[in-house]
Symmetry: C2
Subunit: 552 residues, 2 copies
């Protein structure tokens, strides 16, 4: 083959296209600053039919001025867009599809829009690329899903495009990097525009930002991680006691993530009471990959916590985090710095344990939050809820679950699922077959949307006790183990007393009495805080709960 | 329990300590700029005994002015440091320990220092924390290994501390973020200091940087990913042909990473010849997570490659990457933007296949580069060389390896190991027991330092053929499979002809004739480039090979 490097190919087509798009928007901009009243025209000039567009819907922070305006664009001009939205949280995210502006969607999470998204997929209005875990979606932005345009969100900018995110840095730097460094157009809505040098800190350099627009109102923020202690009942407290004795203490769990939910909130609130009584302070739960959960305030104030790195911020926790820089990652301006990718990296590779709640678990311990026709997505759980095959460093907890021989011997991350045997209304949590199988079929997905796979789960904690699934030798024994803690559900009814006694004796399951947990003590008196008001008191008035959580 | 938030605890001790350190260095600094002739005094003022210090030794870029100066400090003042160095590449990284300045080491890779590090661990001079994969080490910087001081490296800075890294962004933003946002001190050596606004682009905001120092000479850079086509022989070409037919084509591998080595360089160089002949252009190998390998130039120029995101740069590839922005991620200044964490994320979650060479493989397919008393570390391989349990999106290749039933059914990433049955000098690659077991014991490691675990490996390619390990039903069958391609090594001699024929028939192994590979064609005429000079020609003169690779 002869060497031929004199191809006539254009090697900077993306750069030329970007320049043309920015040029087309120039009538409505002053330098990098967009005239807010002309944002619709600007978007119609920047975006072309068929474009891949990343729209910042994060777990908390929402670029809602941009999303509302995009949904209001003319479908004759903008159509067939391929939207990449990590968290489909707002009605207009789906209006885009109903109005014919977008047709294809890649996402990670769809909490409040989960019913509607399932319907739109079923009727063909939305063509689903895939549902990802967060970091998987970002990984693809550097591979085969790089956006032509990114619509992002920050707290403030200067005229050079330097951005200040405040505590909610979240996903902005990652999406900006994927777009800016492959000649995509980066547009950012900000709450305020300040003079050069007046930003409290720079979270993203202006170099990476093409256009900024001052939003019509402050960006939307969801307090997803706030749980009111008033809603924690005796069953959650019992499960928390069981988890603390049967998992945290037994395996010396030092570094961890807590999922969102009342189960783990209960654990956070009994650390300073029951945990202290057990003599666990300083021995467990020191290093966290976690959003600033308000229910962790009593444990922080009581000296349990050494460090917390966060995926995002939490509404109302701004002043508290800023006042506790020894614990939280904060910037020179004093406020929290979060970063979803880096916190997910910590949650995958650095921590001993991931523990979260599940809505539905099958006999093999597969679990999903996809129930009742909801296509709720995965969020961050799959990334943290598996044993990372690339981990090579040891910790006491990791080694405690070691398995294999010779060169094949390795430790294991704890992946713990908490569940109540029945949900509200008497619906069993443990089922023969996950709803996810039917929902996946209806959506034309190649595989069922399972959140956490059974073979990744090491422990299941219910109000009945702990199933130590990682100690089972076979799939059959794992099923027996799980059935033992599944109560009177269809899965639990498979259990027989002979098997149960064998599993208890062999240490594959443990009931409260096996763990020294006195079930009579499982009541609200064990909670370090009984209300949002108590959390405010614990924080010395630094925590400012959102209005919906104020009961006074 | 009563609510007590009026603790007397100090919550900003890290911030106070940082201020005190910077204050102690003030005599030798002008704003953020350190007097280069007083760097030793500055380091002695900033760092305290027992500190955790991150020192930037990346795969390629080395903060060598800082490391040489640190090694020259007074051990009476600086001692018992805990060094966190991703790549222990330079002699002074270990001089630190011999001089008593540092005692503890956490690392990811120790290529050229691998023999000496094994000796220093054995004699107790170095206390090993753990050997990590790259991103795992960074994950711990946000959890339990956050540095008090980071010593980093960039191409240029302005007086506000804004940094320009050029193509070698690599690990700098991640280490800076972990340190800066937990009140650690960030010191950066730069090749040049420029006026405000004169940086070609900003890779890291000045906010995150406390001090900059102009280095005594340009930072050291290792051309780790350059392979001279002259050194590729017929056996590598045969393996490349087998891999292309038996793996790439068979599974429709679209997105991938190539490890460093002559095996994968040979594959890169036969894409425009043999690959073209097979009609594979546009069907395979389009999206890459890869450093800018010079041996990929002919495939890029021939139109095979859609995108490449890079962990780091490669010496000599600067002008070529800048001239191909449709392919590489580049900044507004035109030059490459690399980022190890984000590329490793792509390499873990987004790609169909990881393929790399191995020096030693045991009968269970565990492999390691730890041989002959070398403690060479892991680098990035473990992160990419396993099936990520958190992956949820499908691709054709991933689904082609699907396994399990019902809710448990999922796809699988291809993890391919290439090896020649015997290394130079007649040393068998396939062995009964990995050297890593003894090396790990000597170093007091809790588990043997295995690079890629056998149960993560889906394919092994040798000059004998392909073993499709993922199709085996049992550990025993996996061993049989592997033995079939292990030639006359101790592992290969276990194989018998009856078993071999059964495995061929059942599609668990394939020999060249089974794949339509004509072994007589396995010679250098298939290479698109025969020398570094040819690569320069293919690049149209844009590739500038380092002096050591220039044969003219």
């Amino acid at each position: 083959m002869s060497i031929s490097s004199t191809t006539s190919r254009v090697w900077n087509s993306r750069r030329l296209a970007k320049a043309a798009r920015l040029d087309a928007a120039r009538d409505f901009t002053d330098g990098k600053v967009v005239d807010s009243t002309r944002l619709r025209e600007v978007l119609q000039a920047l975006i072309r039919p068929g474009d891949r567009v990343a729209l910042e819907g994060d777990n908390q922070k929402q670029a809602d001025f941009l999303s509302r305006t995009l949904a209001d664009c003319d479908p004759a001009m903008l159509h067939d867009l391929h939207m990449v939205i990590s968290s489909v949280s707002r009605p207009e995210h789906l209006d885009l599809f109903e109005r014919g502006i977008a047709t294809r969607l890649d996402l990670a999470y769809a909490g409040p829009q989960s019913v509607r998204i399932a319907q739109l997929v079923a009727d063909g209005t939305v063509t689903l690329g895939a549902i990802h875990t967060y970091v998987e979606l970002y990984a693809r932005m550097f591979t085969d899903l790089t956006p032509q345009v990114a619509l992002l969100c920050a707290a403030a900018a200067d005229r050079d495009g330097n951005l200040y995110t405040g505590p909610n840095t979240e996903d902005t730097p990652t999406i900006a990097e994927a777009t800016a460094f492959r000649d995509g157009v980066v547009v950012v809505q900000v709450d305020r525009l300040v003079d050069a040098g007046e930003l409290p800190r720079v979270d993203i350099p202006g170099d990476w930002v093409d256009l900024i627009v001052v939003a019509d109102r402050p960006f939307a923020l969801e307090p997803l991680f706030t749980r009111d202690p008033r809603r924690i009942g005796d069953v959650e407290i019992l499960k928390a006691m069981i988890a603390l004795c049967g998992v945290y203490e037994r395996h010396e769990v030092v570094s961890l993530n807590h999922g969102v939910g009342f189960d783990t909130a209960a654990i956070e609130l009994i650390l300073p009471t029951y945990g202290e009584e057990l003599g666990l302070k300083g021995r467990i739960a020191r290093n966290w990959a976690l959003n600033p959960h308000p229910t962790l305030i009593p444990a922080i104030e009581s000296g349990w916590v050494e460090s917390i790195h966060s995926f995002g911020g939490e509404a109302g926790m701004e002043r508290y985090c800023a006042a506790r820089p020894d614990i939280f990652f904060t910037g020179a301006d004093g406020s929290l710095r979060s970063n979803r990718v880096l916190c997910q990296l910590a949650g995958q590779y650095a921590i001993d344990m991931f523990i979260g709640s599940s809505l539905q678990i099958d006999a093999d311990a597969n679990s999903s939050t996809v129930t009742d026709g909801r296509l709720s997505g995965f969020g961050g759980a799959p990334n943290m809820g598996h044993d990372p095959g690339g981990r090579r460093h040891a910790s006491a907890a990791w080694l405690d679950l070691a398995h294999g021989d010779g060169a094949s011997r390795r430790g294991r991350k704890l992946v713990v699922q908490m569940a109540q045997t029945f949900r509200a209304g008497g619906v069993p949590t443990f089922v023969e077959s996950l709803d996810a199988i039917d929902v996946g079929k209806a959506a034309g997905m190649p595989l069922p949307p399972v959140m956490i796979y059974g073979n990744d789960v090491t422990h299941v904690v219910t109000e009945e006790g702990v199933a130590y699934l990682y100690r089972s030798d076979s799939l059959e024994e794992r099923r027996e183990c799980l059935a033992t803690v599944a109560g009177a559900t269809p899965v639990g009814l498979r259990s027989d007393s002979h098997t149960v006694e064998r599993l208890r004796r062999d240490g594959l399951v443990a009931f409260p009495e096996d763990l020294g947990v006195d079930v009579r003590r499982a009541n609200r008196s064990l909670l370090a805080a009984h209300s949002i008001g108590d959390l405010v008191d614990w924080s010395g008035g630094l925590y400012d709960p959102p209005a919906r959580f104020r009961e006074w």
